[in-house]
């Protein structure tokens, strides 16, 4: 069989292959620098400076002008360090699965971004290329453009659970095992609200092709304004899917050391880390595609669907990528400011709040679509009504009885009967911040 046909598919392949080759490297570089951004954001939140030493001078005198004060060389140094460390495997580990696990997690993470239409449509002039034959026409500046559409993204994203399970199982370590179990149960649970909120978008747009979804948003406004509940549900679900805080129970340091990658070292550990960040990029791109209008910016010419020159395509790619990076920065800020949920709270949130809400949302959206009330203000009004209903119904629902705080008698929150505990000092200072007798407090 002729694997490369003529016509539009050949043109798409002509665009896709170089685009994939470039985009893989862009995303790998972006991952490295996202780790840098994460460390910087974290250190500013914690009142530190963060990485600020490593530049690109490699210790050479004649390159000293490349010595950066921002520590921009840190990702490169980290990468080299990962390569030069010992790759160790405990004796009791399952050799095959232990080797397989990092690959199983990094491959789905790497192939996910394939159908994200970074640059929208571009026009390719008619020309003749060896191997592919005559090409030309309007194609999507993306890794591929096939009719599975966003379903492919969903399928690939859920493959990531295998690497986690394998890594946890193969290590033969109790921490890894528990981390793998927790991660798999959590990823599996949050896939359902993810699918339900994606379904709302599909119902509104009536297509599974990524370009169709963006076109709908260009014409009718971004869906985050039309359907904010679905957007919130989707965002929480991708946080949980990527095992990011506040859902990072799989690697809760205080309980499980490192989670499923406790026993991993050197580059194999780095692959786990890289996969997490690539997963974040893919899922944030997915969110941008579904709710933030993809490459579209309102009131800025040159970014519409009809601008199909190559320059416009690259410009759109830049806009899309900027949105993704901003979203990831938001995720990072969430990680360093929101405390981690307990595991039973994670499961409660997934199964007893998000799935029922997702189902109600789906019914609401399908009724709205059936009566063709799909303008953004109509959907927004329905969202407001649904939120009000949830707040009305919530007090009637059965309470979760098991998660009460256990009172520790004698603590300052539950003092013994008749005892009075001083929790705040006069003068607005906390008890711990009161100055020692005879000193002046540093303000």
């Amino acid at each position: 069989m002729d694997i490369i046909p003529t016509g539009l598919t050949a043109t798409q392949i002509f665009i896709s292959l170089p685009f994939i080759a470039i985009m893989v490297h862009v995303i790998l570089g972006a991952c490295a620098y996202l780790i840098y951004i994460e460390r910087k954001v974290c250190s500013y939140i914690q009142d530190r400076v963060g990485p600020n030493r490593v530049g690109f001078d490699f210790g050479l005198k004649w390159l000293s002008f490349l010595k950066g004060a921002l520590g921009l060389g840190q990702p490169l140094a980290d990468g080299i360090k990962f390569l030069l460390k010992e790759d160790y495997m405990p004796k009791s580990a399952d050799r095959v699965l232990f080797t397989l696990a990092p690959a199983t997690i990094v491959i789905p993470a790497m192939i996910g971004f394939l159908i994200i239409p970074w640059g929208g449509y571009i026009d390719i002039p008619d020309m003749s290329v060896p191997l592919l034959g005559d090409i030309g026409g309007r194609v999507v500046l993306a890794g591929a453009n096939f009719n599975a559409g966003v379903i492919y993204l969903l399928a690939v994203a859920s493959l990531g659970v295998y690497g986690v399970v394998l890594g946890g199982w193969a290590s033969n370590n109790k921490y890894s095992f528990l981390g793998g179990l927790r991660a798999s149960a959590q990823m599996v649970s949050y896939e359902i609200p993810l699918g339900l909120s994606l379904m709302c978008v599909l119902l509104i747009c009536g297509t599974i092709m990524p370009m169709g979804i963006i076109e709908h948003q260009v014409q009718n406004g971004w869906l985050i304004f039309a359907h904010p509940l679905a957007a919130i549900l989707f965002f929480v679900a991708i946080l949980a899917e990527a095992n990011r805080a506040p859902f990072d129970n799989a690697e809760a340091e205080q309980e499980l050391v490192g989670g499923y990658h406790t026993e991993y070292s050197s580059m194999r550990f780095a692959l786990f880390f890289l996969a997490e960040y690539m997963h974040m990029i893919t899922s944030c791109a997915f969110f941008t595609l579904l709710f933030l209008g993809g490459f579209h910016l309102p009131a800025i010419p040159g970014l519409g669907i009809e601008d199909t020159s190559i320059v416009a395509g690259l410009l759109k790619l830049g806009v899309f990528f900027t949105k993704v990076v901003l979203l990831i920065t938001f995720m990072i800020i969430i990680r360093w400011t929101v405390p981690r949920l307990r595991y039973d709270q994670v499961m409660f949130l997934g199964w007893q709040s998000m799935i029922p809400l997702g189902m109600v949302m789906l019914v609401m959206t399908s009724v709205m679509v059936f009566y063709e009330w799909t303008a953004w203000y109509e959907l927004l009004a329905a969202n407001v009504v649904l939120t009000a209903l949830v707040f009305l119904v919530m007090p009637v629902l059965p309470k979760n009885k098991v998660n009460k705080r256990i009172p520790m008698y004698g603590s300052r929150f539950n003092p013994m009967p008749g005892e009075r505990v001083e929790t705040s000092a006069p003068g607005g200072l906390a008890t711990e911040d009161r100055p020692v007798e005879g000193t002046v407090p540093a303000m």
Partner: protein, 131 residues
């Protein structure tokens, strides 16, 4: 009524390319670190980490049944969601005024209702309790 676009297997050619790239990437990285990294074996080093103690027993023990339950309930709901995708794509294109159009809505609402029954059954059985 719309139909899905005809399947072009050649459209999936870039997928094969990127899978090959990903496999090469992971294999090359692991191979490089095996080549470049030092090898220092040790008797204590080869023990699985357990907070510095000698591990007690194996890690492949029986674990909490709730994880099995979650897996089973996940199957029910995920299959339900998968059944809904084709409907979700075709449903917006249904003409509301055409005869029999409301069946598209009513049937899927009944289907969702069966899932709600399954959810309530699971809830009564305490599947979603994770205390």
């Amino acid at each position: 009524m719309t139909t899905l676009a005809a399947t072009e297997l050649a459209d999936y050619f870039p997928l094969i390319v990127i899978i090959m790239m990903a496999v090469t990437f992971s294999v090359a990285n692991v191979a490089l670190t095996l080549l470049l990294g030092p090898k220092r074996d040790g008797k204590v080093k080869s023990i699985a980490y357990e907070s510095g103690m000698n591990p007690i027993g194996t890690a492949r023990k029986r674990f909490n049944v709730r994880f099995y339950l979650i897996a089973m309930v996940f199957l029910v709901f995920d299959v339900e969601v998968i059944f809904l995708y084709p409907w979700a794509v075709t449903f917006p294109n249904v003409d509301r005024l055409a005869p029999g159009a409301s069946e598209w809505l009513i049937r899927i609402l009944f289907f969702l209702f069966t899932t709600v029954v399954a959810y309530l059954y699971g809830y009564r059985k305490g599947v979603f309790k994770f205390d």
